[in-house]
Symmetry: C2
Subunit: 306 residues, 2 copies
């Protein structure tokens, strides 16, 4: 294989209670990338559509992860990368992770899959670190593995694939305001009350149990974040109002996607997720803020060849 | 049925990463209780062996939970309770929970099981609160439900029954020193670093996944406590030395049982658990501290009629 076209999906990190460790993968939104083997060695980014990201590989998330993998594998060829960006950088649905995962996944495929998904995560982390300033795998893991994932540890990388209930859909709204990941991190306290931490780890454990037992009712009860959301929601206009209305409409849960500003909801069934989308639209139509919304099934496959 | 004899098992709370929420149930050590219907109304404790606990029901953990249940159900009879205490109070393996669970379980059986296990937990909590000063279900839940449990919430009570790997054994050592639960609580900080809390909820989620997937290797990696153990271990002589030797001997994990002073280890297979027991004995034989040790399979049934 000399050329590959891939779909690198958007992802939701944190999933309310699981700050920095939980994530899930989306179906309906993602970047496309074309990667080509070249006789000339090295990594080149030859085309970027849909974004003004830098072409220099060392300044580009997809380039940095590609270089990390390339320098490890030392293949007898080079690679050209074209990036068709459908995930808006800064939207909070794993734009940088999709880029970082896409290039290492594609190169690995073109070389005959020498590395496992877990090993790929390690190199993708280098690209992710360029975007967020530190190595986080909570978006990368669901992009690479699909479904729900839990990042048990980053150093060494350890990712658990959790089961995904069959009828689970997510609704997302992206209010088009800018929140820098660094700003969203800086707003967090360095310490949390022990009692809140206990509630949070009780919910993380319960969420994992809910996924294993296909228990939507329990899942709903665990989608609660008393550690991070109270701080970060201040950065997102109308968050409380939107969440209240989404829950009243029957969503299982609602929270900030990653570091925001996107807000996700989870629902049982596509019809409910679509109803929730309308509710989100109604809330934001009363503001001056441009936004878009979409519904997605949970993508259990993850990144894939098109 | 006019009279019932029950076995109310010892339990291990916290299980390293799951402070205040996780617990598991033991097979080989527990209290026995005999409960008798009487025509005279009210709750009477008529016999206590193995301990100098108070006979007045309002001052006795088993009495307080029995009274709470009795006042709710308002039956047309009374109950006499005999307590044969095999679990040493203050040992850190759920002595008060065994008492609190035993009386409500027995009375419920004698009345034809009007209440569910979850409802019984609610009344047993009243007894537990007498002992520990606040309502905690992390020992009660495994005593009543058996196996591994996760207390998702205390108010309202919500308990998850987790799967138990078939070949899992625990080894316990009880160094006979006194640690009051209140003292063990007071030593804890009110706040924890966010980064430590993240590690802890990552491990709780991973432990639940390990139990569902029967993954002993993963289970071992999750048995880690960076939030509570660093403080409480100061109250237990030789904790670090014992833990190191137990892990070197091949145990899956080792930590403080509840608020201590008992220390538990988990092992795959009875042979390994017995080897670990020898290691624990060797460490404590070099001290002046009296102690005893035992091995137990995880008890998946919980409290039961004898």
């Amino acid at each position: 294989m000399e050329r590959i076209k891939i779909f690198s999906p958007a992802t939701v990190a944190n999933v309310s209670c699981g700050f920095d460790v939980l994530g899930f993968c989306l179906d309906s939104v993602g970047d496309e990338m074309v990667i080509r083997k070249t006789s000339e060695k090295g990594i080149r980014i030859t085309k970027i559509e849909g974004s003004d990201l830098p072409f220099n590989p060392e300044d580009n998330v997809a380039g940095v992860s590609a270089l990390a993998l390339y320098n490890y594998l030392k293949p007898d060829c080079g690679f050209e990368i074209e990036i068709y960006k459908n995930i808006k950088p800064g939207s909070g649905i794993g734009s940088s992770s999709a880029s970082a995962a896409g290039s290492v996944f594609g190169i690995n495929e073109l070389l005959g899959k020498p590395l496992s998904k877990l090993q790929l995560t390690k190199y993708a982390l280098k690209g992710e670190a360029l975007a967020s300033g530190s190595e986080h795998a909570d978006n990368l893991a669901p992009a690479i593995f699909g479904g729900f994932t839990l990042v048990r540890s980053v150093n060494p990388v350890d990712v658990l694939q959790l089961p995904t209930p069959n009828d689970l859909y997510t609704t997302l709204i992206h209010p088009q305001i800018e929140i820098k990941t660094s700003e969203a991190r800086a707003i967090l306290p360095n310490e949390v009350p022990l009692s809140n931490a206990i509630t949070q780890w009780s919910n993380v454990g319960s969420l994992v149990h809910a996924l294993h037992t296909n228990d939507y009712h329990l899942l709903s009860k665990t989608l609660n974040d008393i550690v991070v959301e109270p701080y970060r929601k201040q950065l997102i206009p109308e968050f409380d109002k939107l969440k209240t209305e989404v829950i009243n409409a029957g969503a299982l849960g609602c929270g900030i996607s990653g570091s925001g500003p996107s807000i996700f909801a989870l629902s049982k069934g596509k019809a409910k997720a679509t109803e929730v989308e309308k509710v989100m639209q109604n809330v934001y139509e009363k503001t001056e803020i441009p936004f878009y919304t979409f519904v997605s099934k949970i993508n259990t496959e993850g990144i894939k060849i098109l």
